[in-house]
């Protein structure tokens, strides 16, 4: 399991800066906020003030800018609902909407990619409050004129504003801007056809620690869960997935396309990937393997085939293998190339037949001459090596006996196939403990 980079003071400072340049800080915008919840059901009028219909929903377009502009209105005229293009809005207050063009084009509304309906998709739906690190329901949304368009600028996540909406009359429509969070600081996950991709919220999410992200993912409903995953950078998503509870992760993978699941699983630590794949049903597992790079797939297949109570089932396949005839320089180069992997604390040396000879610590390599052959460094202490079919209990004993930080796992021919680090063992033992419960596998409480 990876240690997530700690969110330092730096990030916190960045967050505060973002808040300061939020458009909500501008007085003219604060004063012109219109509550979406209050506006729904209000009259739509033409220039002369004649009623045309009632507002059913507001359509916004995502993608181009941080604050999505209103692209149209869904209006109830008589007994039918129609769509009015956003360009014909001349005035929008918390009581009514006035249209400018004399002849309003009424058309049937069809959901288009990149658009969402504020009432049907966003209001009262789950959103991620990136600053507060939690999943909340949006109590209200606020519109304001910005850059010559009416845009969604803020979202209200307070319970007080939710309560306000219950009251009849104009109280329910009056904005409560003291509780508004900048639209950029939340990740809205609803969209008729796909996912809302606001670069701001993506950037904010990318600063979260994987463990925090995992908590957020677990709190979301199925549909929103998939949407959040789509929103994340795949590497970060994979890190977050590693932090999730097994049963949650399985549920999540069932909701994703095989393609996306394969992408994420490939980026996870092999032992973690194998653990979750092992619990999926065969068909699903195979459909994910089919989407993977064949080399990675065959490696994972091997891992999956080991039982979780055996050494092979908890090991990671991330080992750096070198020949005894390679030089120290080659080994160091290999280590540098794999520095992303935080387990690269040394290299495994094998003979011409691929059989295990030694594990050489990085410190020994640094101290040696770069042109020296690795064979010259081979010597005691030799690493502890065990077979992939060794039982978990014996693995623990081995660890206790040699006091090292890792054990090499080899196959029947003494070829190294993986490594067990102390933290893999901790993981395996904790899950083992939890599984003694009656509600095994359901994650019940």
């Amino acid at each position: 399991m990876k240690t997530p980079p700690v969110t330092g003071i730096n990030t916190v400072a960045k967050r505060i800066t973002r808040r300061a340049d939020s458009v909500l800080e501008r007085k003219n915008i604060r004063d012109s906020l219109v509550s979406v919840a209050g506006l729904i059901g209000r009259p739509i009028r033409d220039e002369t003030g004649r009623d045309i219909g009632k507002l059913v929903d507001i359509v916004v377009r995502h993608g181009e800018t941080t604050y999505p502009p209103v692209s149209g209105l869904i209006v109830k005229v008589g007994n039918s609902t129609s769509f009015i293009d956003g360009a014909s809005i001349s005035k929008l207050t918390h009581d009514e909407i006035r249209l400018s063009s004399i002849k309003v084009n009424l058309e049937q509304y069809k959901r288009r990619p990149g658009e969402s309906l504020l009432d049907a998709d966003v209001l009262d739906h789950q959103i991620v409050d990136v600053n507060g690190l939690r999943v909340v329901r949006s109590s209200d949304l606020y519109l304001a004129p910005l850059d010559r368009e009416i845009r969604v600028v803020g979202v209200d996540i307070s319970f007080r504003s939710f309560v306000r909406r219950i009251f009849p009359g104009s109280i329910s429509r009056r904005p409560t801007p003291e509780h508004v969070v900048d639209w950029a600081a939340v990740a809205s996950l609803a969209d008729g056809t796909g996912v809302v991709r606001s670069s701001e919220s993506r950037a904010a999410l990318s600063q979260l620690r994987p463990a925090d992200l995992a908590d957020l993912i677990e709190d979301l409903a199925g549909r929103e869960q998939g949407a959040l995953i789509e929103l994340l950078d795949p590497d970060l998503a994979a890190d977050a997935l590693e932090e999730m509870q097994d049963d949650e992760l399985q549920g999540l993978l069932r909701g994703l396309s095989s393609e996306r699941a394969a992408e994420l699983i490939t980026r996870m630590e092999p032992d973690e990937s194998a653990e979750v794949l092992r619990d999926l049903d065969v068909d699903h597992r195979e459909s994910i393997f089919a989407e993977m790079d064949s080399k990675i797939a065959s490696q994972l297949r091997k891992l999956v085939s080991f039982d979780e109570t055996l050494a092979g089932g908890i090991m990671t396949t991330h080992i750096l293998i070198t020949r005894e005839t390679d030089t120290v320089g080659d080994a160091l180069k290999l280590l540098v190339e794999n520095r992303e992997r935080d387990i690269s604390d040394g290299v495994v040396v094998v003979d011409a037949k691929g059989k295990l000879l030694d594990h050489i610590q990085i410190i020994e390599l640094v101290a040696a001459k770069s042109s020296a052959e690795l064979a010259t460094l081979i010597g005691p202490p030799f690493p502890t090596a065990i077979n992939g079919n060794t039982r978990l209990k014996e693995v623990v004993e081995e660890f206790a006996n040699n006091r090292g930080s890792s054990i090499i796992v080899v196959d029947e021919k003494n070829k190294p196939i993986g490594r067990i680090l102390a933290d893999d063992l901790v993981d395996a033992l904790t899950t083992d403990e939890e599984n003694h419960g009656f509600a095994q596998g359901s994650g019940a409480f």
């Binding site: 919840a37 009262d124 739906h125 789950q126 939690r134 999943v135 909340v136 329901r137 949006s138 109590s139 996540i157 319970f159 939710f162 309560v163 909406r165 219950i166 709190d219 979301l220 409903a221 199925g222 549909r223 869960q225 509870q245 049963d247 949650e248 399985q250 549920g251 069932r254 049903d281 065969v282 039982d307 109570t309 419960g437 009656f438 509600a439 095994q440 596998g441 359901s442 994650g443 019940a444 409480f445």
Partner: protein, 421 residues
């Protein structure tokens, strides 16, 4: 086949055992939610139905059980697919007012029902000679401790053991030597007198079997238990088992009272009356079993009710909460749980509190709340965006609509009689 072999070789567990383990892992929500519908309020209603109308209205219970199966099944499915609780979904789909109104009605009705559970414990305790000032606070502490302090895997086991007390009703039923022929006739022939009392007890039977809090609970619990679509088949077995058991136990309660109290023309007001009246007719064992079952049922329901309310409140505010959250993570969830339990226990202990009014009012709110809740569920069930591939089929929609119409008719009749009277 080779696949199974491979599994067997690696792990020393037979496939059959795995299946049972998987079932047990999923088992719980349905059985617990179903059986807790046989709470003191439920047993009281069934007792009165049996004591007053004999075997004649057994079919009402059959109809209620079918409605329970259908809607518990739907609730579980909605929970698994949307991974959201009922009230949260109502807020999301029907807006702030609908969500708040449902949640408020649920809270009030649940406090009333919770009071009824403690009243049941107090009354049944008195049959054994225990003071209510001892039994009620003890029960309140016990359920709070179980639900809040125990690990939930353990709590579920306790729930299962507690639900074993329902066997008491089945044994009591046999001890009463009922007329099975008459019982069968009552099950299959839907007849009833068209009077206020009969309509009222029929609606109450429907309302107590298909309780709003039970529907809200099954959905939240499936979410909290993090059940996934793959668990649906097993969950369905669980829900059907729970609902059927509810009906079967209700059947034995009605039959017991029909065979004894109705035959002798004894009228009763609540379930502990029924237990007391059983003694001379069916023996001390029948009485004790009846009272014992009542306490167990009350404890089970008293654990579920505040939990269901706490889920609903967290849901409404949009702060998802689960039992494995700590109180500091989910203060609202735990505050709701504590407040509901404390308030209901206090209501029972205040001398001169208008208990009957509270109980009757909560029954009526429950019945009235049931209708919009079922309609919301019906709406959610056919919402493609929420349910995806699990959206209700045409046939299921007809079934849901039919049940909702019957519930609406029963509630309408009850209200009509109540207003006329």
């Amino acid at each position: 086949m080779s696949e199974v072999k491979a599994t067997t070789k690696k792990a020393p567990i037979s496939p059959k055992k795995i299946r049972i383990a998987a079932l047990l892992a999923v088992m719980g929500p349905g059985v617990i939610a179903g059986l807790s519908d046989d709470d003191p309020a439920g047993i009281t209603t069934y007792s009165v139905l049996g004591a007053k109308y004999g075997y004649q209205m057994l079919w009402v219970l059959v109809a209620s059980t079918i409605a329970l199966i259908v809607f518990q099944d739907l609730g579980a499915r909605i929970g698994v697919v949307t991974r959201q609780g009922m009230i949260g979904l109502v807020r999301q789909k029907y807006g702030a007012r609908a969500g708040t109104l449902s949640a408020s009605a649920l809270i009030i009705a649940n406090i009333g029902t919770m009071t009824a559970e403690f009243a049941g414990i107090a009354a049944a305790g008195q049959l054994f000679g225990w003071s209510r000032y001892l039994s009620v606070p003890l029960a309140a502490l016990l359920v709070s401790f179980l639900v809040l302090r125990g690990s939930f895997a353990r709590v579920e086991k306790v729930f299962f053991i507690v639900s074993g007390v329902f066997l008491a009703y089945i044994i009591a039923g046999f001890l009463a030597h009922p007329d099975w022929g008459q019982a069968l006739k009552g099950v299959v022939t839907p007849t009833m007198p068209f009077t206020h009392d009969a309509i009222y007890i029929a609606t109450a039977t429907l309302g107590t079997t298909l309780a709003p809090w039970g529907l809200a609970f099954i959905q939240s619990y499936a979410v909290d238990k993090r059940l996934t679509r793959d668990d649906l088949k097993l969950l369905r077995v669980d829900v059907w088992t729970g609902s059927l058991l509810t009906g079967i136990i209700g059947f034995f309660v009605i039959v017991t009272c029909a065979a004894t109290l109705n035959k002798q023309g004894i009228t009763i007001n609540d379930a502990s009356d029924a237990a007391a009246a059983l003694k001379p007719l069916a023996g001390t064992l029948a009485k004790d079993l009846f009272a014992f079952g009542l306490i167990g049922a009350a404890l089970l329901a008293a654990s579920i009710l505040p939990l269901s309310t706490a889920y609903s409140v967290s849901d409404l505010t949009g702060r998802p909460a689960a039992l494995d959250d700590s109180p500091s993570e989910a203060p609202l969830f735990y505050a709701t749980f504590g407040a509901i339990t404390a308030l209901s226990a206090a209501l029972i202990l205040i001398p001169g509190a208008p208990l009957i009014t509270i109980l009757v009012a909560s029954q009526i709110i429950n019945a009235v709340l049931l209708l919009p809740l079922l309609i919301y569920m019906y709406g959610i069930a056919q919402d493609n965006r929420l349910m995806g591939e699990f959206v209700a089929t045409k046939n299921m929609k007809i079934v849901y609509a039919t049940i909702i119409s019957i519930v609406a008719f029963a509630i309408g009749c009850m209200l009509w009689f109540t207003v006329i009277k």
